[in-house]
Amino acid sequence: MGAVTISNVRKAYGSVEILHGVSIDIADGEFVVLVGPSGCGKSTLLRMIAGLEDITAGEISIGGRVVNRLAPKDRDIAMVFQSYALYPHMTVEQNMGFSLKLQGVSAAEVKQRVAGAATILGLTSYLGRYPRNLSGGQRQRVAMGRAIVRSPSAFLFDEPLSNLDAKLRVQMRSEIKQLHQRIGTTTVYVTHDQIEAMTMADRIVVMRDGNIEQIGTPLELYDQPANQFVAGFIGSPSMNFISGTLDGGRFTADGGTVIALASGPASAASGPVTIGIRPEHLRLDPAGFPVEIVTTEPTGAETHILARLGETEIVGTFRDRLACVPGDIIRISAEPGHIHLFDSKTALRIIG
């Protein structure tokens, strides 16, 4: 079985450290997504789990076994690469069955297990083809098939969808999720796309600059981001930040606008703070604060508005259909229970 434990793992190239002591406990059967901007170390961490990069310090164990010194082939993992990395000179069937053949599984059983995986992935009629004769989505499925025939302790995915077009990406996203629900193998999935992370993960690990910013379920990250970075990274369109000062429960933005907060222990603090409001938590309110409209984007279901509050640009999404033009002033307010408070200096969430 495949719990994956990463404890205090560091990675350095020469004197440059790019992972600064990372710990994650992944339960057996869990789907964990590592997400963060490029260069945050998420792919490096995944490759360290796979054994494609050395572990400078710390320990990684898979299924209760420390794997630091094991070669990739001895770690009982399967990996899906961004480029798919299918063997060009082998058919789909040979690609999927090759690892089993290496393990010395009998030809009949290889055939049977490949056929089983092909059925799950809808590849049965493509088994005799070569990768060059497949579409991007089909290659992606073959890469997944190559992983699942082995029934490993853990699946590792390295940005597997970033080479697909937008529509196929959405489709493959739900296919991977269904596959996980069906097979239940521990999965570590790397992406830079927070929507992929939100829609697929049991738990998300948000990383930045070689550190973990927060670990939590998608909704935990959405509702209680640990800091301003996570708050801004998760959610689309991203959260609005307004800096100002807090004084006895009264928030005054730098431009002088007063924004009402819900009463609570956090709002009792005072000093410079940044408040965060998600676009979907803004509403039209004749008693609210005034903003000047820059652009409106009606999507049909809702209207996105980019407006200006003093120097700060604010995005709001409204269910209403608004008839207004750039330059108009509208009054809006934030749902008081959904305003996030961050310390202006540390960018950490002020718990409230």
């Binding site: 494609l52 082939k73 690469f81 798919y84 060009p88 000179h89 290496l102 060059r132 991007g136 080479n163």
Partner: protein, 279 residues
């Protein structure tokens, strides 16, 4: 897409064809001279006329005489030496190139540099000292003495390494995760994807041995072990030059590598494998 042929374009094509034919001319003259009676070979050179290029008398006399002598043994020696060099050479050069391209080991760049130097220095420059070494091993007049210097071919290693480096890194990482060790990655992934480069390397090694003259002259001068190039040169001695035999021998010496090249040329175009990765 069809090109319309303009007069300008037609003229270009004629000029290009003429240049190409000029390159073939010596080979053509070599061939017809081999098929002429010996006394006709130089008879029509001056003044230049139709009979310079069109043989008026054809005969297989030179060829029959050539093959009845020791030349057939020399051709066989050359073939054995070249073919064994190609096979043994690929067995040495391909793994060496793989290690240099893929495996990160200490001293790799030093070895790579030494290897480049080894093919930038023409082999003949070191032939004389090498001869002393080989004589020390008692390898004169043996196939081993002829073959050994051709096996570790720096240019072939360089060529293969460049090709191997072009194979996406993801493929070997996928192979590692799939359970392959270095040798299996080399054997199952790199070799099958590198047929064009392997053929080029094989041709380089073949030609190296086929055209070798100084080295075989030093190491294997005996009648039994003589290679074709040496045998050919010896048709002209201080006392007697048999041009009929020289032309006939030269024709075979050129023909054999040409046929091999033409045969393998299809692989250059056919086996450029599409990679399975989306680039």
């Amino acid at each position: 897409m069809r090109e319309t042929i303009t007069p300008r374009r037609a003229l270009q094509m004629v000029v290009i064809a003429a240049i190409a034919l000029t390159f073939l001319l010596p080979l053509y003259w070599l061939t017809i001279s081999a098929l002429r009676p010996e006394e006709d070979i130089f008879r029509y050179l001056n003044p230049f006329g139709p009979w310079t290029l069109l043989p008026n008398r054809l005969t297989f006399e030179n060829i029959t005489e050539l093959w009845s002598g020791s030349f057939s043994r020399a051709i066989a020696n050359s073939l054995v030496v070249a073919l064994v060099t190609v096979i043994a050479g690929l067995m040495v050069c391909a793994p060496a190139a793989f290690a240099l391209a893929v495996i990160d080991f200490p001293g790799r760049s030093a070895i790579f540099t030494a290897m480049i130097v080894s093919f930038l220095i023409p082999f003949d420059a070191i032939a004389v000292p090498l001869y002393s070494i080989m004589r020390g091993f008692n390898l004169q007049n043996s196939y081993a003495g002829l073959i050994l210097p051709g096996i570790g071919n720096g240019l072939a290693i360089f060529l293969l390494r460049q090709f191997f480096q072009g194979i996406p890194k993801d493929l070997r990482e996928a192979a590692m995760v799939d359970g392959m060790g270095w040798f299996q990655i080399f054997w199952n992934i790199y070799l099958p994807l590198s047929k064009p480069a392997l053929i080029s390397a094989a041709l380089i090694m073949f030609i190296f041995q086929w055209q070798a003259y100084l080295w075989p002259l030093l190491i294997a001068p005996s009648n039994d072990m003589k290679v074709a190039a040496v045998a050919l040169a010896q048709f002209s001695s201080a006392y007697n030059v048999s041009f009929g035999l020289i032309f006939a021998g030269a024709m075979f010496l050129s023909l054999i590598p040409m046929l091999i090249f033409v045969f393998f040329q299809q692989y250059f175009t056919n086996s450029v494998a599409a990679t399975g990765s989306k680039e």
